[in-house]
Symmetry: C2
Subunit: 335 residues, 2 copies
DNA sequence: TTGTAAGCGTTATCAC
DNA sequence: GTGATAACGCTTACAA
């Protein structure tokens, strides 16, 4: 085994085993006809010298990097981490490696991310990032980088999309709520810069209320547990009732905890619904009624679609995940 | 702007602007002397043709990929996701991109991961993975891949390490517990294949008990919330008291919830300590006393160390993060 | 079956 | 200041 030396090249292997590099290349790639004998000989010296091909050179020569670029805002959210897991699982299975590109909340950062993705010469990209709009996606794809976009219905020659459908289940949840005896007024928690998905939720929330002629509230809240918790501790000094629709589990938990700690009962006085549920909806107490989409599945599906796109045999360029509602203890239910 | 065509190369740019590729290269890299005039001309055609250099070719020519390999078991744990975030943050700041390599729980998978890392030709690697032992790390590093290892005290020419120190705070926590009036017997939750960190915890746990001559229990448990929850629901039918030391928040929460749902009081009847605390320790109720290390900081520090290692000016090759104990409501405390 | 040589898109070392 | 030209480590026709 080598030791901190420069890497052995295919040429050195060729020399050591007394063949040309073409032959070594054939052995590596199990291509072309090579005598069993020379193959063995080459393989032996490869092992002996600890030779590993340079993926870089291979990529340059074949115009395939076996790298997939993943563009996300951050891995800090549980649901994104879950998606990341699904993606890496399939990537590994199919022999790709994931290159991570994270964006911040500024336009210039987003542009520089696009630039990096293009330069990095990935074979394809998966984008789950509100910072990038359709034009950006087309830019990336125009550099022959087939792309799967999550949560943004963009489709074109080399772009497929995976979207979420929360509308009908959210609408039904709202309607069901108002069938209760003396239903609480619903409050939607608006987060500044909360992204496309939250905006979508809010739209459905508002439209449903308008449709049935019910009044509702929208209140602003920060996107952190601690902040929301203290805000609602304050809030519950003057309010003692309400049905709160929150984006994520931890936000929902903040409200629930604030209510409980203010001496209110969940769900009798305060009901809470989490829109993007994770396993934590089931861990906190009371458990939180939440809408769920299996994000690991989303990741897997996206990766499969991307691979099909690379092979030019993706037939259906859109895929929609339907959310499901899991009723738990933070809401009242119809008898 | 181009459109799904093959990528423009430096050569085409050179031709279009009537200079040689050497000049274009100089412009791109802002190196060497180029007339203001020709520079402008070249830059214009670059913009016009939408030229982006190929990172692959650059990497091959310069022998620098600006890629860092990150080896982790999975991104599914909150604390790993946090670390990942710290790493990507610094990586972005310093112009590196992260390539993700995940391992499974088999030896052969681990070996293939090592292979992939070497082939992928990253400039450096960060390893946070119990599946890889010292020999594996040395293998990777021997292919001139400087490496930072997290949670494994390995150091050599091109290997630095970031470790965690939970011992003293765990020991103190245990000792303090036994200073209470009528202290509960402590139970350590052993997870099969729980990894190096958990083994370390267990060792400290046992040694501390031996030292002070106290008896203790070790019981096996699965590494999932659901499983642990149902196991402990069963357990609490015949046990009604105990101080449980769990690896992660969700495991601790499972015990706590099982206790509560069995009619036991936390912390009066059942106390719970989480060894690797995350923000969720503060969200569940009762809040969980936990040991904390800021994993985002760990990620950042590791990345900084790796960059220094690459530049050959890393002076201190080890860094130790001290855990801190945050006492919350799941344990009794000394008056 | 095996070797020769061109090419992948850059950088870098020379001359000019 | 600028342009040839040789690397970088590999794949892949095309010859032999």
């Amino acid at each position: 085994m080598k030791n901190l030396k420069d890497r052995v090249t295919i040429y050195q292997v060729a020399q050591a085993s007394g063949v040309s590099l073409a032959t070594v290349s054939r052995v590596i790639n199990k291509k072309g006809n090579v005598t069993e004998e020379t193959r063995k000989r080459v393989e032996d010296t490869i092992k002996q010298m600890g030779y590993k091909p340079s993926g870089l050179a291979q990529a340059l020569a074949t115009n395939k990097s076996t790298n997939i670029g993943l563009i996300i805002p951050s891995a800090n959210y549980v649901y994104i981490a879950n998606m990341l897991n699904g993606i890496t699982e399939v990537a590994k299975e199919k022999g790709f490696v994931i290159s991570l590109f994270t964006t911040s909340h500024t336009r210039s950062e987003a542009l520089s991310t696009i630039e990096k993705v293009i330069i990095s010469h990935v074979d394809g990209a998966i984008i789950f990032d509100d910072e990038l709009d359709e034009e950006d996606v087309m830019t990336i794809s125009s550099y022959s980088v087939p792309t799967v976009v999550i949560n943004n219905a963009i489709v074109s020659e080399k772009v497929a999309s995976v979207t979420f459908s929360y509308e009908s289940v959210l609408e039904k949840t709202i309607l069901d709520h108002y069938k209760l005896n003396d239903p609480k007024e619903m409050v939607f928690l608006h987060v500044h810069d909360g992204g496309r998905l939250l905006a979508h939720f809010e739209k459905t929330f508002v439209e449903t209320h308008v449709k049935i002629g019910k009044s509702y509230h929208i209140i602003n809240c920060g996107d952190s547990y601690t902040r929301t918790y203290s805000d609602f501790l304050e809030y519950f000094k003057s309010h003692h009732r309400g049905y709160f629709v929150a984006y994520r589990d931890s936000i929902a938990a903040a409200i629930e905890n604030a209510a409980t700690d203010s001496g209110l009962k969940v769900p009798e006085d305060v009901e809470v619904l989490s829109l993007v549920g994770t396993k934590y909806a089931n861990i906190v107490r009371p458990t939180i009624t939440a809408m769920h989409i299996d994000m690991a599945e989303v990741g897997k599906r996206s990766m499969y679609m991307l691979i099909d796109l690379l092979n030019e045999d993706l037939v259906e360029k859109t895929y929609k995940f339907e959310a499901s509602l899991t009723e738990r203890s933070s809401t009242l239910r119809l008898k």
